[in-house]
Amino acid sequence: MKRSRVITTALVFALGAGVVAFAPLPGASVKPANRRFRVEASSFKYAPATIKANVGDHVTIDLVSTDVVHGLYVDGYDVSVTADPGRTASLSFVANRAGMFRLRCSVTCGAMHPFMLGKLHVGRNDLLWRALALALLAGLVGVSLAPMRGVRT
C-alpha cells in the first residue's frame, strides 16, 4: 500500500475507533425506582448470584447469611455490608453508574472466600458492546495495515 493511503486509512480507522469508544449512546428512559433485593449468602455463593437494576434506581440489598458470617462489597460503588448468620443486614445506594459490577464477599469465610462472587448489572453494559465493536475494528485495521513481512526474530 502507498504511504499516503496507509496514513489516510489509519486516520479513518482512528476516527472510527474514537466514535465507537466515546460517542454518547441514547440512554434508556426508564424512570428510577426503588429496588429491593434479598440476597442469601452461603459458602461460597450468593443467591441470586446476579441482580439487575436500572440507572438511577435506589437499590437496597438485604443480605442474609445461612451459615457463617459473610459480607458483600459492591465493585465500582465501594460500599459493603456484613451479615451474621441468621441476621439480615442491609445496604443501600443509588445505582448511578451503568455496567457490570462484581459483588464480593468481604469477610473471610473459608477457603474459597476470595472467589465468592456475584454480579450487579446496572442498565445497559456499554463497555461490553463498545469493546466488541472496537475489537472488530481493531482486527480490521490490523489485517489491512500491518506489514506482512520484514522483521527478523
Binding site: D75, G76, A111, M112, N125, L127, A135, R149, R152, T153
Partner: protein, 495 residues
C-alpha cells in the same frame, strides 16, 4: 555458504574489520583464531552495548544474589504455608506466591521479559549448585549422572500434562496453604532429582509446568538473546556456548545459540554471554511478538500448549471470577464425583473442544484457498496465532484477580507466620479492592488488543504461503475463531 569449519573463516578473515569478530579481549586468550565478524548491517539494539548492564549480566554475582534472595523467599513461602494460618487469604505463603508473584509474573515479567523469570527462579538453583559443584563458577566435576534426557520425551507433552493436572486442582492449590507448600516443595525436589540424574536444566526444559507457559508466551517478549553473526558461530568449532568452557557451563537449556530463532526454550541465564570467546552474543531489543514471524520450529506440542493455556484462562475466569457457586464447589471438592465431572469437562474442553473447533476453522480456510500444505502443518502453524490472545486473556483475568486481592498482602507481609508480629505496621490492614471502576475498562482494552494482535498474526502466518489477499481469505476462519474466543472472554470478564 554456511558450512562450519575454519576454512570458511580463513577466507573471510581478510574482510574482517579490525576489532570485530575477534576474541573478546580477555587476557590469556590470544591464541583464539580470528573468525568472521559481525556484519555492519546489524541494526538491532544490543543491550549489552550499555557497559553497566553488560557488567551486571556478565558477572555471576548479581544473578547469584537475586537467586539467593528468591530462594529465601521461596523457603519463607513454604514455611509460611506449612506453619502459618490454614486460611488461604491470610497466609503469607499463598499471598506471596499466588497474588504477589503472580501479579509481577503476569503483568510485568512475562510480557516484557519473557523467560526473564527463569534466570532468577529459585526452583532449579539447589540442583544446579550440586550439578555444577559450585555456587558461582561452574566446575566440570560436579555431582550427578549427567544422563541425556530420553529422546522420546524431548518435547513439552509432559509439561502440558503437568499443567493440565495442576490446573484441574487449582481451586485447592490456590486456597490451601499446606497444599501450596507441598506443591512448591515437590517442584524443588523433583528439580533437584532431575538435576542429579539428567544433564543441565532438564527439569526446566521438559518438566516444569510454569516454564511451559512462560516459554510459550516468551515468544512475544521484546527482548531476546541471539548471536550477532551466525557465520562466526558456524566457523567456531569449539562451540563453547553449547559445550561449556573454563568461562562457564554449556547452555543449561541445551540450546545452541547460533541456531536460535525463538525465545521459547532460552532461559536467559546469560551463560553464553559469559562463555562465547568472540563476544558474539547480543541481548536484543525487538518488536513485541517477533518470534511468531518465524515459521521455523513450530510443533504440535507447543500448539497444544497454546490451546491449554487459552482454555485454562477461560476456565479460571469462569470458576474464579464467575458467579456460579456450584462450579466453584465442584472445582474445590477434589476427589468427589462432581470434581471428576468438572476435571473431565475441563480436560475435554481445553484438549478437545478448543483444538477441535480450531481444526474446523483451519480446514475451512484451507478449503477457501485450496491449500496444498498438509493439514497438520496448517493446524500447527495457525495455532501460533492464538499466542497473543492467550497472553492477553491471562493478563485480563489477572487484572481482576490481582486488584481485588492484592490488599491481602499488607497484613500477611507484616505477620508472615501468624505469630502476632507487625513488621511493617500493616498487620491489621483490612481488605480493600483497588480500581474496581477502571479494571473492566482495562480488561476490555487488553482483550481488544489481544484479538487484533492474533488476527494480524493469523494473517501473517497465512501470508507465508500465499499473497496478501489469498492469505486473508485463508486466515479469515481462524480470525473468526479468535473473535469467538474474545467474545467468550469478554462475556466471562466484563459482561
Amino acid at each position: 555458504m554456511t558450512a562450519p569449519g575454519l576454512g570458511v573463516s580463513k577466507r573471510l578473515v581478510a574482510t574482517t574489520p579490525a576489532g570485530m569478530g575477534s576474541p573478546s579481549g580477555r587476557q590469556g586468550r590470544a591464541e583464539l583464531p580470528q573468525l568472521p565478524s559481525a556484519p555492519s548491517t546489524e541494526s538491532r539494539l544490543d543491550l549489552l552495548r550499555w557497559p553497566l548492564l553488560r557488567a551486571v549480566l556478565r558477572s555471576r554475582w548479581p544473578q547469584l544474589l537475586v537467586r539467593v534472595a528468591a530462594l529465601a523467599g521461596f523457603l519463607v513461602a513454604v514455611l509460611a504455608g506449612l506453619l502459618g494460618t490454614p486460611v488461604g487469604n491470610h497466609n503469607f505463603g499463598i499471598v506471596l506466591v499466588w497474588i504477589a508473584w503472580w501479579t509481577i509474573m503476569m503483568l510485568v515479567a512475562l510480557p516484557f521479559f519473557g523467560r526473564g523469570w527463569c534466570s532468577i527462579c529459585p526452583i532449579p538453583v539447589p540442583g544446579e549448585w550440586l550439578q555444577h559443584g559450585a555456587l558461582l563458577n561452574p566446575r566440570r566435576d560436579g555431582m550427578g549422572f549427567r544422563r541425556a534426557w530420553p529422546a522420546r520425551l524431548k518435547n513439552i507433552w509432559l509439561q502440558n500434562g503437568a499443567f493440565s493436572g495442576v490446573a484441574v486442582c487449582s481451586a485447592v492449590v490456590l486456597t490451601q496453604p499446606r497444599i501450596t507448600a507441598v506443591v512448591l516443595l515437590a517442584f524443588l525436589f523433583v528439580a533437584i532429582g532431575t538435576s542429579l540424574i539428567y544433564e543441565r536444566r532438564a527439569f526446566c526444559r521438559y518438566l516444569c509446568p510454569v516454564g511451559g507457559f512462560i516459554g510459550l508466551y516468551s515468544q512475544l517478549a521484546p527482548v531476546a538473546i541471539r548471536v550477532k553473526n551466525k557465520a562466526t558461530c558456524a566457523a567456531h568449532t569449539d562451540k563453547s556456548c553449547y559445550r561449556g568452557s573454563a568461562d562457564g557451563a554449556g547452555c543449561p537449556w541445551l540450546l545452541y545459540p547460533g541456531a536460535l530463532t525463538k525465545n521459547t526454550y532460552c532461559g536467559m541465564c546469560m551463560e553464553c554471554v559469559r562463555t562465547c570467546p568472540y563476544d558474539n552474543i547480543a541481548v536484543t531489543l525487538r518488536p513485541f511478538g517477533a518470534d511468531l514471524r518465524s515459521p521455523a520450529g513450530r510443533r504440535l506440542d507447543e500448539a497444544f500448549k497454546g490451546f491449554i493455556m487459552l482454555g485454562a484462562a477461560m476456565v479460571y475466569s469462569a470458576v474464579m471470577l464467575g458467579p456460579w457457586g456450584d462450579l466453584k464447589m465442584a472445582a474445590y471438592d477434589i476427589g468427589s464425583a462432581r470434581w471428576f465431572a468438572y476435571a473431565l469437562g475441563v480436560l475435554v474442553f481445553i484438549n478437545g473442544v478448543l483444538p477441535g473447533l480450531f481444526l474446523g476453522a483451519v480446514s475451512a480456510g484451507r478449503a477457501l484457498v485450496a491449500s496444498t500444505q498438509p493439514v497438520k502443518r496448517s493446524f500447527v502453524s495457525f495455532a501460533y496465532a492464538l499466542v497473543p490472545l492467550g497472553l492477553m486473556a491471562w493478563i485480563a483475568f489477572s487484572l481482576s484477580f490481582v486488584f481485588a486481592s492484592i490488599s491481602y498482602l499488607w497484613p500477611t507481609m507484616s505477620d508472615p507466620f501468624g505469630l502476632g508480629w507487625d513488621l511493617f505496621g500493616t498487620a491489621h490492614a483490612s481488605w480493600q479492592p483497588y480500581l474496581t471502576r477502571s479494571v473492566p475498562t482495562m480488561q476490555a482494552i487488553v482483550l481488544v488488543g489481544g484479538f487484533a494482535w492474533s488476527a494480524v498474526t493469523a494473517h501473517r502466518i497465512a501470508a507465508e504461503e500465499h499473497e496478501q489477499r489469498m492469505a486473508l481469505r485463508q486466515a479469515a476462519p481462524v480470525i473468526a475463531y479468535c473473535f469467538l474466543i474474545t467474545v467468550c472472554l469478554m462475556g466471562l470478564l466484563i459482561a
